[in-house]
Symmetry: C2
Subunit: 305 residues, 2 copies
Amino acid sequence: MVSDMSELSTVPEQQPEFGKVVIFGVGLIGGSFALALKSARAVGEVVGFGRRPASLREALELGVIDRAGINPAHELGDADLILVATPVGQMPDVFAQIASYMGSETVVTDGGSTKADVASAARAAFGERLGQFVPAHPIAGAEHSGAAASRSDLYQGRKVVVTPLPENTDAALDRVKRAWALCGADIYELTPELHDRVFAAVSHLPHLLAFALVRDLAERSDAALFFDFAASGFRDFTRIAASHPEMWRDICLANRQALLAEIEAYQAQLNDLKAALARNDGDYLQQSFAVARAARRAWGDKQAR
Amino acid sequence: MVSDMSELSTVPEQQPEFGKVVIFGVGLIGGSFALALKSARAVGEVVGFGRRPASLREALELGVIDRAGINPAHELGDADLILVATPVGQMPDVFAQIASYMGSETVVTDGGSTKADVASAARAAFGERLGQFVPAHPIAGAEHSGAAASRSDLYQGRKVVVTPLPENTDAALDRVKRAWALCGADIYELTPELHDRVFAAVSHLPHLLAFALVRDLAERSDAALFFDFAASGFRDFTRIAASHPEMWRDICLANRQALLAEIEAYQAQLNDLKAALARNDGDYLQQSFAVARAARRAWGDKQAR
């Protein structure tokens, strides 16, 4: 038996698809990416960089990363893939470091929730090497954050939107799509601008609307009375109002133009319903609610499949 | 053994607290009220009235009611308690019937989601016998509706807001509170006007806002693209946009003044956040979101206790 095991261990392992992966920002997004690639046996070594030594130490202890990087100048030249999973606000600085040290074969991607601003920061930082940077957005939030919340199956069956730049080579694009596919994700392609317009409407606006409702109540002198009678409809509607204020400040600012346009479309919609209510137009309200109900049900049915 | 059982069955049963209960509208609310009182052994007989014979037959077959009433003139004089659980729009007609036939000891209550309009309809119908009508609002919706969805534990640990009228006798008020307490509910008292103001803010407005968001997307020519990328935040925020259009038309119209005031307060709030976004004021956005997050978390913690 012992000789069997010894024989097994001497069988040469297949080369992993990504020899060296470097992750900037080892939180939920970056950490789960590392764990998913490890679980797929698709990575040789994961090196993590981060601003907080405690987070890196935790990621190391949990086996999320294999090493904490010390000097980017020594780690990026031979990296096959770099994921920038820091808050979007830190990306310009991180991009500048990467641009200085990455190798000619290194492919870089990110995990930011907005894409036009990331593409623009990348354009400024990478210059002639912009083709090596492929922006992406994994649609996978979770209640918890941080390296300790990382899960190898976070991206299983989830969507990742890749927003290629005209400068991207097919090879770089394929590598990034392949990495996310190895994580179990379904890959979609949009332009950065269309991505931002879509997510302004289906994600950023709802967050802003939920924050607005809760703040509207919280600022009243008799707020406690209102909260006392809030029930399950309120609970679900406002769940996202417990989201992280700094993160959502950054997302709103980063996607300001698209979000402002969505707010205005929504205000027009709300004014329309308000006018119907003011003129006691029950038919109009019912028809409007029915349009919403039918669309919401169709969406829910599709999600459940 | 047989003689033991025979002895047991001859022990005189205690008189139930409510000898005869009549329910108008045997759907989820009315049916669950009946089942809860039966489960508490607090009712002698439940008689149901309704517009659809098929619903009454179903309620009868399921044991939710003991008899389907035929003629209110024959059933209301000896009723101890009458619950009107029809849609609010049908209540004026039902109240007029009840006022004609109820006994001098009969106590009447309702299960409507708005209270000032119900109180006003009751005032018109019951005249000098208004003291016998105590408005109430059980805060218990569910995904499903109809008699078949009724559950004896629907009200267990849920809130019921009783909104007494100045004309109510202490005895009538106590009977209604006692019935809901027997259903397992926690009883609160508000005036009808304050009730409507509170529920406009924490329930009716969120429904309108969710309907508005989904309709805003559904009416776009490229709606499918947006729905494709909607995720869990959208799912929870818009769950109530799948609510019943006729029911919510009626609630919005019934609570029109309070809801219009809440829409305006919300529009001011949304304009405030929009202005901060337009002037790129990240500090203001972050502080606003932090107020909402703190309030939402405190509310969630309290609910979980």
